[in-house]
């Protein structure tokens, strides 16, 4: 079936299905959400007001048999950063939306009445219904209740209490194949959905299928592509240890931000490491491997059980474990898992919230290392929307302002993730220049700075870092448009067959003849489109900087600072 734009107007509660404008036809995923936000959202608008729009788009290859193509992009103007935003995640929704013939779902306006709603999307269009039962409930209750309401294997997008309360760290959660959750985590997109009073969205493609222009070519390309992914040693390590395999290596490199970014090494690293987690999962009968969407050949997710062998959390990621662990000095993996589950349920970004907890610990709100205290604050303060809960729920920058703290690790008000930019300088360029605030996934220089994937660039010198970050940010923007998981990049950087096979997949799906240059140009177009939006929203080059303390406080053990001048950072945009 031909892809369409599905549009929902929450001001007058109407919906429509429209033809895809020619200018949008070649886009998917992040390329499409950013194109639509740039075309339809006033850059100076209030992110929680009537002029912001929430745009949801599967990737160019979502819903096909292509391996690892199940990522869903969601975009808007971010209430956390004030910039344009795209966050993507796995789960079943991208594939089901594509099969329903939805190229993008655009949600605009704000309801006039103080009521909550749900959206149900099928190939025929979207239906808006009032929702009462699930208001105020966590994401797991939403998933369980919807499973009882319908027999169909619906895709679900949902917000928890944090989204309802329009907190700057609120995320949008996507149901995974086993009723677990994956999160479009960063930038407060859940608050935008909450501002539009939408508690959840269901997706039922009925018997819809994605049309492939050239099925034989598609099959051939997918074979090469899937093999390149499955054979790469990084994919294999990700399956065995999950992303948390990184705790020990980043700690060893001296770049693991610890105790609110005051050290690059954490004494308790071994007890929260991927190796320990792997052994614990096996001992307790959890699942070492788990896929967040059908067709994933890497399976970096896992199911982590408690000491009694009962599921505690899934999709237990390095970033969450680092943030709650090293940054907050919590060395008890069970406490971190409890916090992870609570954050999934409340619908709040694990990176932003945990870094905010680290700042709160520095402010004396609770002691460093108090994992159970973190869980209490999540349950009793954030989920209930107390004053303290809202301060922390609005992110690390919010906590820093409320308590007068200067060591606040944010760029454009978004928390810096799990790699210290003083000891791993390439990622500092990514944090500074990203169009969306500090975000490692925008240009993952760790691959080359630390892991030796895609070549080697010394993490402790300035040489080559701007170029590395630029090339990776361009490539990432393109990959984020395909619906592919970013972890294909490890194979793409090392295996010469991988990227051409990916381009062949897109060509076979749409009967195109794209080349590698086209893909690079797509990446550049996306970055420039996003930056143009930010400039019109009031951002300047001086916003592309790290907080002052990174320039003035040396980080042990290497005792290094971030030493790029503003002029050096600004050369990032010379393309």
């Amino acid at each position: 079936m031909a892809d369409k734009i599905f549009r929902v107007n929450m001001t007058n509660l109407t919906t429509s299905v429209e033809a895809v404008p020619a200018a949008w036809a070649g886009h998917g995923g992040r390329g499409l959400t950013s194109t639509i936000v740039a075309a339809e959202v006033e850059p100076t608008c209030h992110p929680l007001g009537s002029k912001n729009k929430l745009v949801i788009a599967p990737g160019l290859l979502s819903g096909t048999m292509a391996a690892n193509s199940g990522r869903l992009s969601i975009g808007a103007k971010s209430p956390l950063t004030g910039t344009i935003k795209e966050a993507n995640a796995g789960g079943t929704a991208a594939q089901l939306l594509a099969r329903a013939g939805c190229k993008a779902l655009i949600i605009e306006g704000l309801p006039k009445e103080d009521k909550w709603y749900s959206l149900a999307l099928t190939p025929e269009g979207v239906t808006i219904k009032e929702e009462t039962e699930l208001v105020g409930k966590g994401n797991f209750t939403v998933i369980e209740t919807l499973a009882k309401r319908s027999d169909a294997k619906l895709g679900v997008l949902t917000i928890g209490q944090a989204g309802e309360m329009r907190m700057g760290s609120a995320n949008i959660s996507i149901k995974d194949p086993d009723g677990g959750l994956r999160s479009n985590g960063r930038g407060g997109l859940g608050a935008v959905m909450g501002s539009k009073k939408i508690k959840f969205i269901t997706i039922d493609p009925k018997d819809g299928k994605v049309a492939i222009a050239n099925p034989e070519k598609f099959k051939e390309a997918n074979k090469v592509f899937a093999k390149a992914l499955a054979d790469h040693p990084v994919s294999q390590a990700l399956g065995q240890y999950g992303t948390n395999v990184l705790v020990n290596i980043i700690n060893e490199s001296g770049g693991l931000p610890t105790k609110n970014f005051t050290s690059g090494q954490f004494a308790g690293h071994e007890s929260i490491s991927g190796e320990t987690m792997h052994d614990t999962i096996k001992e307790r009968g959890g699942k070492v491997k788990h896929n967040c969407h059908a067709g994933c050949v890497i399976q970096c997710s896992q199911v982590y059980n408690d000491a009694n062998g009962k599921k505690l959390t899934s999709g237990f990621e390095y970033e969450s474990i680092w943030a709650m662990g090293a940054d907050c000095c919590v060395d008890n993996l069970d406490h971190i898992a409890m916090a992870d589950k609570l954050m999934d349920d409340i619908g709040i970004d694990t990176i932003e919230t945990s870094v905010a907890m680290g700042v709160a610990m520095e402010a004396g709100v609770l002691p460093f290392g108090d994992g159970l205290g973190v869980c209490r604050i999540l349950q009793d303060e954030i989920a209930k929307g107390t004053g303290l809960g809202r301060i922390i729920g609005n992110g690390a920058g919010s906590v820093g302002r409320a308590y007068g703290i200067t060591r606040v690790p944010v760029v454009k008000n978004q928390a810096i993730p799990a790699y210290d930019p003083r000891a791993i300088k390439g990622i500092g360029i990514t944090y500074a220049t990203s169009t969306q605030g500090a975000d490692h996934t925008m240009g993952y220089t760790i691959a080359t700075n630390i892991l030796g994937v895609g070549g080697k660039v010394d993490p402790l010198t300035k040489v080559g870092q701007v170029e590395l970050s630029r090339n990776l940010q361009i490539a990432t923007a393109a990959i984020d448009s395909t619906g592919m998981c970013l972890f294909i990049a490890f194979a793409a950087l090392d295996n010469a067959e991988c990227l051409p096979a990916l381009i062949d997949l897109i060509n076979a799906r749409f009967d195109l003849s794209l080349t590698g240059d086209d893909v690079v140009n797509l990446g550049k177009y996306i970055l420039k489109t996003e930056r143009t939006f930010n400039t019109a929203a009031g951002f300047t080059a001086t916003d592309d900087r790290l907080p002052e303390f990174f320039y003035s406080e040396p980080l042990p053990p290497h005792n290094v600072t971030f030493d790029f001048t503003g002029e050096e950072i600004d050369t990032f945009w010379d393309f």
Partner: protein, 74 residues
Amino acid sequence: MQITVKLFAYFRENRFKIEMWEIGEGTTVGEIVDKLNINREEVGVLMLNSRHTEFTVKPASDDVLAIFPVIGGG
């Protein structure tokens, strides 16, 4: 002279996490990897005192050598 050797991920299987090793002057990182029966091609990252290093480098007394397979995440 003595150095500390640390292993990570599946390199630990049937080996160890951390050990003190007595090595002769002039022993290279590569020779230590060989002695561990680790295939050099499986080695992703080598660090000496938290800095990236190479097979040809000769550790000094009290150095800490960390040996990782090819790994990634994010």
